[in-house]
Symmetry: C2
Subunit: 209 residues, 2 copies
C-alpha cells in the first residue's frame, strides 16, 4: 500500500547505490546479454571507470543485482504461504499482497523467469538462497479444508499454481494481452487493477464444494 515498500529503496543516495540502482534497472529491462556497462554508467550519471572502481565486473554486478531481487521476493512469498490466518483470509491476503507487489515491480517476474531459463546453473548455485519458502504449511491447510468439506477436492499444488499463474502472468504478458483485447494503455492499467478483486472472486468460486 505504502509507496515505500517498493523493491527498490535506496536508503541514502551514495554513488555506490546510484550505480546499483541503475544496474538493477538496466539488467531487469534488457537482461544480462542486452545490458551494456556503458548504459549503466550513463544512467547512474557517472563514467565507466568509476563503475569498475565500485563493481569489479559485469558478472559480479549482475549477480549482486539478481541476488538482491530474488532475496527480497522469496521472504515475501514465504510469509504469505506460512502465515497462520484462516484459509479464506490467507487466499485473499496472498492475492491482494502478491498482485500489489508485482504491480509495483512488473519487471521482476520476467527477469527471474528469464534468468532461471537461460542460466539455470548460475541461478541455483549462486543466486538462489538456500532457505526456500516451504509450502507444506499451506498444503496441509488446503488438505484440511478439503477433508472438512469446506472446499472442493483439489490437489494443493495445482491450487497454488493456479493462483500464482493468475496473479503473475497478466503482468508478464501485459503487452500481449493489451493487443489481444484491443486495450489502450489506460484500459490495460485499469484491467490489471481489477484483477485483485477478480482473481480473488474466481479462486473462491473455483473452490466452493
Amino acid at each position: 500500500m505504502a509507496k515505500t515498500d517498493n523493491i527498490q529503496e535506496p536508503a541514502v543516495d551514495t554513488t555506490e547505490q546510484r550505480i546499483f540502482e541503475a544496474a538493477r534497472e538496466v539488467f531487469t529491462q534488457k537482461g544480462m546479454d542486452g545490458a551494456k556497462m556503458q548504459e549503466i554508467a550513463d544512467r547512474a550519471g557517472i563514467n565507466k571507470a568509476l563503475l569498475h572502481y565500485y563493481y569489479r565486473s559485469k558478472e559480479k554486478l549482475y549477480e549482486m543485482v539478481a541476488r538482491a531481487i530474488v532475496g527480497k521476493m522469496l521472504p515475501t512469498i514465504r510469509q504469505l504461504l506460512e502465515s497462520e490466518q484462516a484459509f479464506e483470509d490467507k487466499i485473499r491476503g496472498f492475492i491482494d499482497f502478491y498482485i500489489d507487489i508485482i504491480g509495483r515491480n512488473p519487471f521482476i517476474p520476467l527477469f527471474v523467469i528469464t534468468e532461471i531459463n537461460k542460466h539455470p546453473e548460475r541461478f541455483f548455485e549462486t543466486i538462489l538462497p538456500k532457505d526456500l519458502p516451504r509450502p507444506e504449511v499451506f498444503f496441509s491447510q488446503v488438505e484440511a479444508e478439503v477433508a472438512a468439506g469446506r472446499i472442493r477436492p483439489i490437489a494443493p499444488q495445482h491450487l497454488l499454481v493456479n493462483m500464482i499463474s493468475m496473479c503473475i502472468f497478466p503482468f508478464v504478458a501485459k503487452p500481449m494481452i493489451r493487443i489481444l483485447l484491443g486495450m489502450s494503455p489506460g484500459e490495460i492499467r485499469l484491467f490489471l487493477e481489477e484483477r485483485k478483486r477478480e482473481v480473488t472472486a474466481f479462486m473462491l468460486a473455483g473452490l466452493r464444494p
Copy 2:
C-alpha cells in the same frame, strides 16, 4: 496428438531449412542478444560464410524466425476462440489443445513475451501479422451464458485471461515451480500433464452459477 503438428516441421532436409531450424532453436533459447551467428552455424553443421550466403543478416534471420513462430501460433488461438462449439465444449477444447501445443513447444511463450517486452516497435511493426484473433465471438458467448444464468457473472476478458494464465504460466515458470514445490524432473513432467484435467476442472468449477 500426432508428433507432426509440432511447430517445427521441416518438410525436406535442405541446408536452408537446417539453418532456419538451428536459428529457431538458438533464438528461442538465448534471445536476440544472447544468440551468436557462430552457434547457429555450428548447430546447423555449416560455417559462418554459408550462413550469410543464405541469410543476409542476423536481424533478418531473427525476424524470419520470429514471424514464423508468431504466425503459426496466432491462427491456432484464433481458431480456438472463434470456433462455433457450445460453451463448455469450447472451454474444454481450448484448454486441452492449448496446453497440448505449449507442452510440445515450451520455449515459445517465453520467446514471444521477451521479444514483445524488449523490442515492442519491431514486434508490432515487423513481426505481428495484421489480422489478429478476434475474441469478440467468445466474449458474446460468455455474456450469453451469464445472461442465461448458466454460469456465474464474470467479465469475459478476465475469464479469458484467467484461462490463458493457468495454461501458459506453469510452462513458462517451470523451473521456478519445480524448485518451489520440490519436484524431480519426472514429477514436474507428470504435474504439467495433469494440468489439462486440472485447469479444465478449475475453470468449470469457477464458473458454476
